[in-house]
């Protein structure tokens, strides 16, 4: 007999390993304690459905009472998740698979959050400019939704993805989204390699050398610090604006110091907390915890700002210093 | 000779040495005594345990029982390094050189002259100076010093090994078949080296299957049979017949079979017509190998005999000219083509080219014959084991079973496996490159009888050999090579050592 065998087991499977998910784990742990359930938390080695699936299968077969999954490819995974949802209560988090029969979704709408990034860019470069997007991969759901959101926001109301050469540097091909010229017309990917994230930014800096009104956008958590590292090495801090995504501690610190303009965060701590809370309640037949719609992202800048209603969501604009403190406290509980 | 005086303590003594390998008792209770400044020859059949004993003396193996004394003190070498330090140096039967390094590097490998203390910076000047001297001792030109070993022919590699041993502070030099790939000329130079060592007080253990050499250079002979001492011979009683009797346990009378072969001089089976091959000499070469004859081919080390045979066997691409079998042109671009045409090669270096050492005797016997053992899609087990049994019996291959890894057999028995795999194919032309390298007298006699019988039945045999005795004893006709070219041809009645040597060194036909 195992000393845990009496407890209810709640499982959380993320889409990959990342400090982002450490925050989520912290939240999940907290909720597990409060609800007196056993938590199984797993960050699979790579962001690939083929790595995630065996873990989900193993846990479902072992008889967990509820499972939360960060979906990688909603369309592809729907069928499998439907099977899962038939056996145990399923919560999707971070990325949704709406048709899977999940009981609810915990997470922001990545595309909406991407639009918030676009708005930051617009605010920094109101008269247009040259931008570059950096991301790990564009084959996952969030890897597609975030750049799409950014560009959609930039494109309104004028040009949308019109092919063009850069007005000052004709060798640079790209696309116009509104007044913004996207170099190469695509996001530069680094396949999750942090070192390559730096070299990608560095090479881009070399190419756009001398171009005014630059803004680099990093859409995975590690991208903004990587961009900043390259910008520093070229002594271009302040000249090249940086906008990020997610709450990487380095990013938050650099926002406070003014080297990065801002970032859009998802509050993964609450993803973990809410997922476990909902599932634990569900086991007891309590459906009241279920969430409706998607959660609100937050926009972090140096100086913060008042809350606003945007597209039906109540959005907070905390100061970077404050938010950094919150994150740090959250992380402490997982010992990171 | 003046060395008859009885020394006080022997230089090296081995007492009651036992050594077992899985399934094989290699040595049991072997005793050996080696006096200072003495050449002691060890003879015995293949698998008698000679190499094993030498490896024990040189610290490569540890004995299961028994003791070794050096100058009266018991010693136990935990590795070749310690043995070398104590002055016991072994030249292995198989070549052991780092062929990617230069000759000089190999001469000093493991004991480089260095400066700089722990940094062990090579003292290149000293290396170069000493290398020249060492090479000169074995008769290699100084120009070889900076050449990568892999570019040397086997004979020269063997000389490099010997030179390397000479470079140590050697007190006991063990040479395990040093002459198996040497021609007469180099062998004689080796005798001179041995004489000089002896004069300097060095003791030499000398293993050879060429009994004439033993007669010429040994002071004493120890004979091993089946891993046991089989007797000793003092200088005056060292004769071919005495040694053979002790080794084999019976008399071997007819050593070189001399069957009258009417077919000699018959139709050419294999014709090399004006061929030139890649890496060979510029001038074309023409040669016939006739049915039912044994064509001997002589030449010095590096004369290009091996290369020529490889060109015929499809290893070296032909640049021009034509090969004909029974008068019909054949295309040979890889060994399988030659084999399909009935031309097979017993290569010079059996470990490299002849055998898949870790695999079994049976595996090796079957390998080129799989197309005949059922189809390629299904090897008929019964037929295969019949073949194994037949050839193991026929060639008297000494092995516990057909499943024994061939690399664990003694050298001579390995050689017999190579014969077996080819003879099982019923070839038309049998190319033999150093056919009895490392083969004991008894087995040699068997192989000679076999070759002779096959030739008598119409097989064309092309025998490349550096062993003068073998050449003179077996050949129906001899072709002598010099610098990649045919220097001359000698029919049986004009065949003698002097004529061969003259042609081989570039002299005129008598």
């Amino acid at each position: 007999g195992n000393n845990n065998s009496g407890k209810i087991k709640i499982a959380v499977v993320t889409n990959c390993t990342d400090p982002f998910w450490d925050l989520c784990e912290a939240g999940a742990k907290k909720a597990a304690q409060e609800n007196d359930v056993e938590l199984l938390f797993r960050q699979p080695e790579r962001m690939a459905a083929e790595v995630q699936k065996p873990v989900i299968d193993a846990w479902v077969s072992q008889g967990v009472s509820g499972i939360a999954v960060s979906v990688i490819d909603p369309k592809g995974q729907t069928e499998d998740l439907t099977l899962v949802a038939k056996k145990v209560p399923l919560v999707t988090m971070d990325n949704d698979a709406p048709d899977s029969g999940r009981i609810c979704y915990v997470g922001v709408d990545n595309k909406e959050a991407g639009r918030a990034v676009g708005r930051l860019v617009k605010k920094i470069l109101p008269n247009g400019g040259t931008i570059a997007l950096f991301i790990g991969s564009t084959t996952s759901a969030n890897g597609q939704a975030r750049p799409a959101g950014v560009l959609e926001e930039l494109a309104t109301p004028e040009a949308n993805g019109t092919r063009a050469k850069h007005p000052l540097r004709p060798e640079l091909e790209g696309k116009y989204y509104g007044k913004y010229f996207l170099v190469d017309g695509e996001s530069k990917t680094d396949d999750g390699l942090k070192e390559r994230a730096v070299t990608n930014a560095r090479d881009m800096l070399n190419r756009v050398d001398g171009v005014p009104d630059l803004c680099f956008v990093g859409l995975y958590a590690y991208n903004p610090p990587a961009i900043l590292e390259a910008v520093r090495a070229r002594s271009l801090v302040g000249k090249v604006k940086i906008v990020g995504f997610d709450e990487n501690p380095e990013t938050l610190k650099s926002i406070t110091s003014g080297d990065i303009e801002g970032t859009v965060v998802q509050d993964p701590y609450n993803y973990g907390y809410k997922s476990v809370e909902i599932l634990a309640a569900e086991v007891k037949g309590d459906r009241s915890k279920r969430l409706k719609g998607s959660a609100a992202y937050q926009v972090i800048t140096k100086d913060g700002g008042p809350e606003q209603d945007i597209n039906g969501l109540r959005i907070k604009f905390p100061k970077a210093v404050d938010y950094e403190r919150t994150v740090r406290d959250q992380l402490k509980s997982v010992g990171k | 000779m003046g060395l008859g005086r009885a020394p006080m303590t022997p230089r090296l003594r081995a007492n009651g040495i036992d050594k077992r390998f899985p399934g094989v008792v290699a040595l049991s209770g072997v005793t050996l005594t080696l006096h200072p400044a003495e050449v002691l020859a060890i003879v015995g059949e293949n698998g008698a345990g000679k190499s094993t004993l030498m490896k024990i003396l040189a610290g490569v193996y540890q004995p299961d029982a028994g003791s070794v004394e050096l100058d009266g003190h018991p010693v136990r070498f935990d590795g070749p390094r310690e043995a070398t330090r104590a002055g016991v140096v072994l030249i292995h039967q198989e070549l052991n050189l780092a062929e990617n390094l230069t000759v000089t590097d190999n001469l000093f490998l493991g004991r480089e002259p260095t400066t700089g203390g722990g940094l062990r910076v090579l003292n290149r000047r000293e290396m170069a100076a000493r290398a020249t001297g060492l090479l000169a001792e074995v008769g290699l030109p100084a120009s070889r010093a900076s050449v990568r070993v892999e570019t040397l022919p086997p004979g020269e590699k063997q000389l490099v090994e010997i030179a390397r041993a000479l470079g140590t502070a050697v007190r006991v030099l063990i040479m395990d078949e040093p002459t198996s790939s040497l021609t007469q000329k180099e062998t004689e130079r080796l005798y001179a080296v041995i004489d000089r060592l002896k004069a300097g007080g060095v003791s030499v253990l000398y293993i050879s299957h060429r009994l004439a050499e033993v007669v010429q250079c040994a002071d004493r002979v120890t004979v091993l049979r089946d891993g046991k001492n089989a007797g000793e011979l003092e200088k005056r009683s060292i004769t071919h017949d005495n040694m053979v009797r002790l080794m084999v346990g019976r008399d071997l009378t007819q050593f070189y079979p001399k069957i009258h072969r009417p077919g000699v001089g018959g139709a050419a089976v294999l014709t090399l017509d004006q061929i030139r091959y890649r890496g060979g000499p510029d001038a074309p070469l023409t040669l016939d190998v006739r049915a039912g004859e044994i064509l001997g081919m002589a030449g010095l080390v590096g004369a290009g005999r091996t290369e020529l045979s490889e060109a015929v066997f499809g290893v070296r691409p032909l640049v021009s000219g034509e090969l004909r079998l029974d008068g019909l042109p054949i295309r040979v671009s890889r060994p399988s083509d030659a084999i399909a045409a009935g031309v097979v090669l017993v290569p010079e270096d059996r470990r490299l080219h002849g055998l898949v050492a870790p695999e079994s005797v049976g595996f090796n016997l079957s390998l080129p014959n799989l197309d005949r053992l059922g189809s390629l899609f299904g090897v008929r087990r019964r037929k295969e084991s019949d073949l194994h049994r037949y050839w193991i019996d026929r060639l008297r291959i000494k092995t516990p079973s057909a499943a024994q890894p061939v690399g664990l057999l003694s050298g001579g028995n390995q050689q017999k496996v190579v014969y077996g795999k080819w003879l099982a194919r019923d070839p038309r032309v049998l190319i033999l490159d150093e056919p009895t390298r490392g083969v004991d007298v008894g087995a040699k006699a068997e192989i000679y009888a076999l070759i002779d019988e096959l030739a008598g039945r119409g097989l064309a045999v092309w025998m490349i050999t550096s062993d003068m005795e073998e050449l003179l004893g077996m050949s129906d006709r001899v072709v002598v090579m010099h610098e990649g070219q045919v220097a001359g041809e000698l029919s049986r009645d004009r065949l003698n050592e002097e004529a061969v040597m003259r042609l081989a060194t570039g002299g005129e036909e008598p």
């Binding site: 007999g1 195992n2 845990n4 065998s5 390993t17 938390f41 797993r42 699979p44 790579r46 962001m47 690939a48 459905a49 083929e50 699936k53 065996p54 873990v55 299968d57 193993a58 846990w59 077969s61 072992q62 990688i72 490819d73 369309k75 592809g76 995974q77 729907t78 069928e79 499998d80 998740l81 439907t82 099977l83 991969s137 084959t139 996952s140 990917t189 396949d191 | 899985p22 399934g23 290893v315 890889r334 060994p335 399988s336 030659a338 490299l352 080219h353 055998l355 898949v356 050492a357 870790p358 695999e359 595996f363 079957s366 390998l367 197309d371 189809s375 390629l376 299904g378 090897v379 795999k421």
Partner: protein
């Protein structure tokens, strides 16, 4: 023979651990039959994955037996999976697409083999370049492919795709795993490979080449042809594994599908008794070797190990397994 004992011991220990974990963790009230059912279900899941690993391990092992190596396996798996999806989406019937993909795999292997034998390039280098090239090819073909996306685009293929899926992967129309079809496929393929390896002339040639290429050549073996054949088989099997991956997994991302599988395949082959020096290995060993990693991964998941601990546990288990294996072999050699 002895080479198999070590891996057998390892597997036995792992399976015992797996079953033990289930029994320990079984809820107090659960009837034994139900626990057994869950164990079985999990073993079938694992067997299916083992089957897929095994298919590539067979290919890797053949290449290793001839003294070569193939680092492009993972990329070929990924590329084939993507190709399979793209072919069907472009209107090629599944029954045609499967052999076509395997054929493409064979062509890839032919390329590898010819570069290695004709241009005498090092296998490690050729297949490492291949790893980039085939990964790149996958990315050029598509971003993400999945069954559901394919059926959406080609609804006609739905039932054909379903039957292919049933026979190759064992999943019924609802996506439930009915039997470990991939493992059965592995057994069939291992039988074929074993037949070639142990009963035909070709097997002898491969062993001979692996031990001593020159001696094989001098014995009349057409070394180049055999080498090429082995690379062709390896890549064709990898392509087949790509098909399996597509059918089994919810979705395939072109930038990461099949990643690392070359290492797992080689690991399986080596655990199963192949030596990277060539010339050694048995078909039974390959199957057993390939079974190790999936059951090990399953075990660590089931036991709910922390994500951070998992790599170390896997590495140490494999290492201990290898050491045990070596000792068993050494002992058996002494006692012979």
């Amino acid at each position: 023979m002895m080479r198999i004992l070590g891996v057998l011991a390892l597997l036995t220990a792992l399976y015992a651990g797996l079953v033990g974990t289930y029994l320990d963790n079984a809820p107090a009230h659960e009837p034994a039959s139900k626990t057994q059912e869950r164990i079985q279900g999990n073993l079938v899941d694992v067997a299916n994955i083992q089957g897929r690993y095994g298919v590539i391990a067979l290919g890797a092992a053949l290449v290793i037996i001839t003294g070569g190596i193939d680092l492009s396996i993972g990329a070929v798996v990924g590329c084939s999976a993507v190709l399979f999806g793209v072919l069907m989406q472009s209107g090629i019937h599944p029954f045609v697409a499967v052999p076509l993909v395997v054929l493409c795999g064979a062509v890839v292997g032919l390329g590898n083999g010819l570069l290695i034998t004709q241009l005498k390039l090092q296998p490690f280098l050729v297949t490492l370049c291949g790893m980039f090239v085939y990964r790149g090819a996958a990315r050029l073909l598509a971003g993400t492919v999945s069954r559901s996306q394919t059926i959406e685009m080609q609804p006609d293929f739905s039932s054909a795709l379903q039957s292919v899926r049933y026979f190759l992967v064992g999943k019924n129309i609802k996506g439930e795993l009915e039997f470990p079809a991939e493992f059965i496929l592995l057994l069939v393929l291992a039988g074929v490979v074993g037949f070639f390896l142990h009963r035909t002339a070709y097997g002898r040639y491969w062993y001979a080449i692996g031990h001593n290429e020159l001696a094989a050549k001098y014995a009349g073996v057409n070394v180049s042809r055999q080498r090429v054949a082995v690379y062709v088989i390896c890549s064709a099997l990898s392509a087949l594994a790509g098909v399996l991956l597509f059918l089994d997994m919810p979705s395939i991302q072109s930038d990461s599908g099949g990643q690392y599988l070359e290492l797992y395949a080689i690991l399986g082959a080596v655990l199963g008794g192949c030596s990277l020096r060539g010339g050694e290995g048995t078909a039974v060993g390959m199957v057993l070797g390939a079974m190790v990693l999936p059951v090990l991964e399953n075990l660590v998941s089931i036991r709910g190990l922390k994500s951070d601990v998992i790599p170390a546990v896997i590495g140490l288990t494999l290492l201990v397994g290898t050491i045990v294996d070596e000792f068993i072999r050494r002992r058996s050699r002494l006692n012979r």
